[in-house]
Symmetry: C2
Subunit: 366 residues, 2 copies
């Protein structure tokens, strides 16, 4: 367990390396970690990326230039770095925590215990009113309220917690707010709370960025409250992430005849805590907030990079892969190669955009 | 465990005795059972009642005449007798099951597995619509729907289950329907379902008769569904009885801003199963319905009536009693009297209207 005070700060040069690595093609948080561990640092990993990607079959993998990274670094103003003291405490626990988080506004809000209030964009008047009341009461109880800046419930939750501390997690870059009509709300949050994104400036949010963003909303928080949610709505994705991340899930009930309550009623059936007032949330979260956070155990120090792999060994490992997910352990066993060699081949394929990682150390070819 | 086929039928004379005994002043279901057991039958108990009550301090305890009982017997047409095969199976399990139940209509409905659907009199349009849908679906699944003939949810539940089998449990006598404007609905139930009361004809229901009636609604059923209920409403009393009787409790959620949902949302917080469709109820009740019913173990055969108690012994026992509930075991120990003697003194006080029995074999003076 790492205590907050033990966080080590990166130098500005190291930050630039981190930024360039996480912004390279096909490098997500998990690949970032694997590369960083394998090569003993972001600089060495960065140098290795082009060769790795080429061997994995990519034609032109992109790494941002040092100048691009410096520009983004400057624009971000505050960059939360995974492992540093300012990085949101609970977010460090999740498996795919972003190595860097661009924070704008009052970063102190990220040090408060946090709870997410999320829900339908087409919320009912009652839903909006309830979200406001809940967010205000949770704020008065000392919690930062986290949400997604969306229309309806999200916006109501932010507005009601401006004074006490509110955090909006964006799906795109800081200069590409969605929805655009919430620019004024975002400005108000900037003045008193925080806007957070793992995406680079200039990144227009696409449909698939929203579920990805939702893992950060739940990851920052000790619990997630779903206020109104139809079946198959984004709020349920946030609730699923919360469960996977070991966060508490809360849901606000509604009439069985109201389609906007179907998702939240389902959550309660599945074991979420029913919420009719802030006290229901506080009763579950206060004991959790009081206990120290178990940080994810880091992988051991990286072994030295393995000797160059022979073409035959690489081909043998790739042949074992197909569209059906297989355990990495099986690849090691069946190929006769070392775990380090298998890891390198998987990294190569990943950087070439040809590998998909599934839960439970399963991989498949794309 | 007694099987249905083993029920013993009373003769008409015995029924009259039972009726006169349960209609005597200060004789409720528990006292009825104690007297019946103690004297080895209702006739002997009936003869003993005036003396017992006098010794307990009553001036003029009333027993209905044989003629009154015969008139009620005739009016009731069908009289469910505790222990007989036609008596509702599950109701036999409860501690204070009425010895006699006046049934009008189609008594066959009482043989179906049953579920209660109860709720607010000032129900919302959505609540009424949901109650109708639920009652119809539960009826189609083979359940009798039991309710209290009240305005709002109760009436909706009865109406939607007329064809499949519905049971209205009354708080007053069969000729004193409440509310009066439901006479037509009661007529429709009479034609296809059943109306049930433990009260004598002519008995106008008083406020305190409704909670008492509610124990029968839950007692007849395998489970109780609360559709809309404010805090401190009658439906919550039915739910509490259901819990005490080991019945399943279900509740339909609603908006936290709707006062009519406060009671049902509270029930879910306390562990009731959230219901948005009949399948939620059926999933829990079908397995229960399939298992045989454990009937309440009857007390052993009555011992012979004890020798006449001396005034000193009686006084010693009465002196040990006060407004604070005390365990009957303590009375036996502290008085030095036999358990049978203590029981007799308690019966005397009870018949004189001076004793209150609490749960857990506790008694106090009124």
């Amino acid at each position: 367990m790492t205590d907050k005070s033990e966080g080590v700060r990166l130098s500005d040069e190291q930050r630039l390396d981190w930024l360039r690595l996480i912004r390279s093609d096909n490098v997500g948080p998990r690949t970032f970690r694997a590369l960083n561990n394998h090569y003993g640092g972001a600089r060495a990993a960065l140098s290795a990326v082009p060769d790795l990607a080429r061997r994995g079959g990519a034609t032109g993998p992109a790494r941002p230039s040092r100048e691009d990274a410096a520009r983004e670094f400057k624009a971000a103003k505050t960059l939360g770095v995974l492992g540093e003291p300012d990085y949101p405490r609970r977010l460090q626990m999740i498996d795919d925590a972003p190595p860097l988080l661009a924070v704008r506004g009052n970063a102190a809000a990220l040090n408060l215990p946090a709870v997410a209030v999320v829900g339908a964009r087409n919320a009912s008047a009652a839903g909006v009113r309830f979200a406001e009341r809940l967010a205000r009461d949770l704020g008065e109880a000392g919690f930062a309220v986290v949400s997604g800046l969306a229309r309806g419930i999200d916006a109501a939750a932010h507005r009601a917690s401006l004074a006490s501390g509110t955090i909006a997690v964006l799906a795109g870059g800081h200069d590409r707010l969605y929805p655009p009509e919430h620019a004024e709300l975002a400005g108000a949050i900037l003045a008193q709370g925080a806007l957070v994104s793992e995406m680079p400036f200039g990144r227009e949010p696409r449909a698939r960025d929203f579920p990805r963003r939702n893992r950060l909303i739940s990851g920052i928080c000790a619990g997630v409250v779903v206020v109104e949610a139809a079946r198959r709505s984004g709020s349920l994705i946030t609730a699923r992430f919360a469960l996977e991340q070991g966060r508490e899930v809360f849901a606000v009930p509604g009439s069985p005849l109201d389609p906007r309550a179907e998702g939240s009623n389902d959550l309660i059936k599945q074991g979420a805590t029913l919420v009719t007032e802030a006290a229901d949330v506080l009763a579950d979260l206060r004991p959790i907030i009081g206990t120290p956070i178990e940080l994810r155990a880091e992988e051991p120090e990286a072994p030295p990079p393995p000797a160059e792999l022979g073409a035959a060994e690489r081909a043998r490992i790739v042949e074992l892969l197909g569209p059906t997910p297989v355990p990495i352990d099986d690849l090691v066993r069946l190929s006769g190669s070392s775990p380090a060699a298998v890891r390198v081949v998987l990294l190569e394929l990943e950087l070439a955009g040809r590998l998909e990682r599934h839960g439970g150390a399963l991989v498949s070819l794309l």
